[in-house]
């Protein structure tokens, strides 16, 4: 690639301090649903772009599940060519405004950045978000020219991040793409799971609209397996991608879980995000407002639920059975929760939800200590006998994970599933059934938005090759 125009030496680049994204201050934002990080200014973005060392080996790109052309787009940002940078990202990532916000960059691209350890990685996520927002806000979004139609039809089941990626990739190849969505809005977890203050819904709508304008057909309120059968889909389409996510909420199976005031995080967040319950009664779906809300779990979903409850005026406690270092949530989310005044009750495990008149009145927990690492590599929490304690709360949100929703898979008796009900696929994300691919959480179990998008990318390549009679792509792992 061509030399950069600013002519800085690596030493000078390293001397530039990492950009700090302005944020709403914690006390103000804990009472509203507006976005927390406000985004970089053009000046900040151009300055931050100078920090990129343009390493020959591009460790950042290897750290990205969809291999965004990171150094190249950063170079364009440095030259003030924001629109071009956005277009370049979109060649490999159909949802840059989304991933710029919700990707765990610190363990992916930024974590692999040469500067990461000593100086803090280049703020790749913030730059990605900046160019995507810049393009959208300045009406620079261009619909790519329509490719020559191949005459092949592809059905995508589920409009979450992996489904949208497959749709975006295949429409560009000239295939006719239909996306079936069970809910009344497209976006999957991006609309029902992730709160407005982390991912404004107008951004998801704009990304979906971008696909619609390219010709992707969205069929909302169609529950595959119920409204339309898999046999009907297979008859009408040349290929099918299943990206239905992992939407079956787990409960703890402890006493008191049936009490009123105990909700799954899925219910709580769906009511708030998809149904706009936080605007009740302007919107009809109620979102219960506890005074003291206890969220059980330590993942990103738990942080989202806790921070939502905080915004509705509750005192919020997160109960997690391991220590702070083991919290599965992104560091940034934990940090934001901390700042907003959410209390962490660590090394504690609920044993019973206390109730009065059928309603939650408190929780009994047992204290835990950490033992030897378990299969996940994290130190296993062990209950300390006799250390039970109780505290008062009037709402409990269970956020201990989700499993495979069998609604569609149980209608496909020949489909290979593993013992947890997830779909088994090969390296190209093909299932054992011909013409059927799968990816995202319904294959891997709960993972990140970008990992689901990466799975979609692999499937899209394989589908495209199959439809045009080309050899199947060899997996990237084999290439290396």
């Amino acid at each position: 690639m061509s030399k950069r125009k600013d002519g800085l030496t690596p030493k000078e680049r390293m001397a530039i301090p990492r950009a700090k994204m302005p944020e709403q201050n914690p006390s103000a934002r804990a009472a509203n649903f507006e976005e927390v990080p406000l985004g970089l200014t053009p000046e900040q973005a151009m300055e931050e772009a100078k920090r990129c060392l343009d390493c020959r080996k591009q460790p950042c790109v290897h750290g990205c599940p969809v291999a965004v052309q990171i150094p190249e787009f950063i170079k364009l940002v440095g030259e003030g060519k924001f629109g071009e940078a956005a277009k370049l990202i979109k060649e490999t990532n159909v949802l840059p405004a989304v991933t710029g916000r919700v990707c765990p960059q610190e363990t992916q691209c930024e974590g692999d950045c040469t500067l990461f350890k000593k100086y803090g990685g280049v703020s790749i996520g913030a730059l990605e978000r900046f160019v995507a927002d810049y393009e959208r806000n300045n009406n620079l979004v261009e619909i790519p020219p329509k490719p020559k139609p191949t005459g092949k039809k592809v059905a995508i089941i589920g409009s979450g991040p992996s489904g949208l990626t497959v749709a975006g990739d295949l429409i560009l190849q000239g295939h006719a793409v239909t996306v079936f969505e069970a809910l009344h809005e497209a976006g999957g977890v991006l609309v029902y799971g992730i709160p407005e203050f982390r991912l404004p819904k107008e951004i998801v709508a704009a990304e979906v609209d971008y696909l619609v304008q390219q010709g992707v057909n969205f069929e909302l309120n169609v529950v595959a397996g119920m409204t339309i059968t898999m046999d009907e889909i297979l008859e009408e389409f040349d290929a099918v991608y299943i990206g239905v996510g992992a939407g079956l909420p787990w409960f703890m199976r402890i006493e008191g879980e049936e009490l009123n005031g105990v909700l799954s995080a899925n219910e709580y967040l769906t009511r708030s995000n998809l149904m706009k319950g936080y605007l009740f009664p302007d919107y009809d779906s109620p979102l219960p407002q506890g005074k003291h809300v206890c969220v059980v779990g330590g993942g990103n979903v738990a942080m989202d639920a806790a921070r939502t409850a905080k915004r509705l005026g509750a005192k919020v406690t997160i109960v997690y059975r391991r220590a702070r270092e083991q919290l599965p949530a992104r560091g940034e989310e934990v940090h934001h929760a901390d700042e907003e005044g959410i209390v962490f009750q660590l090394l504690s495990n609920p044993v019973k939800i206390l109730g009065k008149d059928g309603k939650v009145s408190g929780m009994e927990c047992i204290r835990m200590e950490l033992g030897e690492p378990d299969a996940s590599g994290r130190r296993r929490p062990i209950p300390i006998g006799g250390s039970n304690f109780e505290f008062e709360c009037d709402q409990v949100i269970i956020s201990i994970g989700a499993g495979a929703n069998p609604l569609l898979t149980k209608t496909m008796p020949d489909l290979d599933l593993n013992k947890w009900g997830y779909i088994v696929v090969d390296e190209n994300n093909r299932t054992n059934i011909s013409k059927v691919w799968a990816g995202g959480d319904i294959v891997t179990g709960s993972a990140t938005v970008i990992e689901a998008m990466g799975a979609g990318r692999i499937a899209a390549r394989s589908i495209h090759a199959e439809l045009l009679g080309l050899p199947q792509p060899t997996s990237e792992k084999e290439e290396e």
């Binding site: 049936e258 799954s264 009809d284 929703n405």
Partner: protein, 291 residues
């Protein structure tokens, strides 16, 4: 999918019959299944049992009562209006087999909702006994239609104004005496009716199915609000049901959970009414001022 309203009429006081254009659902529906409706763009998702459908006409029929903000909105919609969201059919279809003599009991919206089951059980070769439970005589509806597909129809009213007096348990001994024996029972109606009916059939050892009408959001197994304890296990009414063994349902829990959002539901209802009143007053004022 969006459903255009073909008919929306109050058949008896506070029971409304809604016929919607929904060709895809009409083609796919099976007895015991339900749909989810969002009346307008700010509405909530609420489930309704399918009471009839016609693949030829591409229509579905549901019966509903005005009980909250969503159903109030529905009552105000007119033929030609389009429902914001309509999705289905959802839930597992009811088990339809030849059992012998089948008792089908309906209460409230269930007077309408037992019709497709009656038809299916009849077609499967059963002797089908219909049972309407109502508070009083003037809220009995759908009678002629059900009589077309049942061998016998009993009517039970709480006030004794028509047919047998009381509830299902009081009527059962009489029905059993007349019919000889009942091999299978299936109830659709309000929670109280299904609970006492299940208790009634248990005394006579009649296998009993009830169609749970819990709160729901997505209706696809994603949120878990519809959880019901059946035989000690947690089940989701939307995907594991709605049909469950009435003798194994933990009814106390069902009742408690039904009231999870009563305060909010009342608030939404009052809020909407106030808005409507506000709009009406504004209209009146404009008219007065000649605007």
């Amino acid at each position: 999918m969006k459903g255009e309203i073909i008919i929306n009429e109050e058949v008896v006081p506070n029971v409304h019959r809604l016929v919607l254009s929904a060709p895809v659902i009409a083609k796919r529906a099976k007895p015991g299944q339900f749909v989810i409706i969002i009346p307008d763009e700010v509405g909530e998702r609420i489930p309704f049992t399918l009471s009839d459908w016609s693949p030829e006409d591409g229509t579905i029929t549901i019966f509903y009562q005005e009980a909250g903000v969503s159903t109030m909105k529905l009552t105000r919609m007119k033929p030609g209006n389009v429902i914001h969201t309509l999705v289905g059919p959802l839930g597992r279809p009811s088990k339809i087999e030849k059992f012998g003599t089948v008792l089908l009991g309906g209460g409230c919206y269930g007077l309408g909702a037992i019709y497709p089951l009656a038809k299916a059980f009849k077609e499967a070769g059963n002797r089908v006994i219909g049972l309407f439970e109502a508070r009083t005589t003037y809220i009995v509806y759908n009678e002629e239609k059900l009589r077309e597909v049942v061998d016998e129809l009993y009517i039970v009213t709480a006030d004794g104004s028509r047919g047998l007096r009381g509830h299902v348990p009081e009527a059962l001994p009489y029905i059993l005496e007349k019919e000889g024996k009942i091999d299978y029972a299936h109830f659709i109606g309000c929670t109280y009716m299904m609970m006492v009916s299940s208790r009634g059939t248990k005394e006579h050892n009649i296998p009993t199915i009830v169609a749970m009408n819990t709160l729901m959001v997505d209706g696809t197994g994603m949120c878990g609000i519809c959880r019901v304890e059946v035989d000690g296990n947690t089940k989701f009414a939307c995907v594991d049901g709605p049909d469950f063994d009435g003798h194994k349902v933990n009814w106390d829990m069902v009742f408690a959970r039904k009231h999870a959002y009563v305060a909010e539901e009342n608030m939404a209802y009052q809020f909407y009414r106030t808005q409507m009143d506000g709009a009406v007053n504004k209209c009146a004022k404009n008219r007065k001022e000649g605007a």
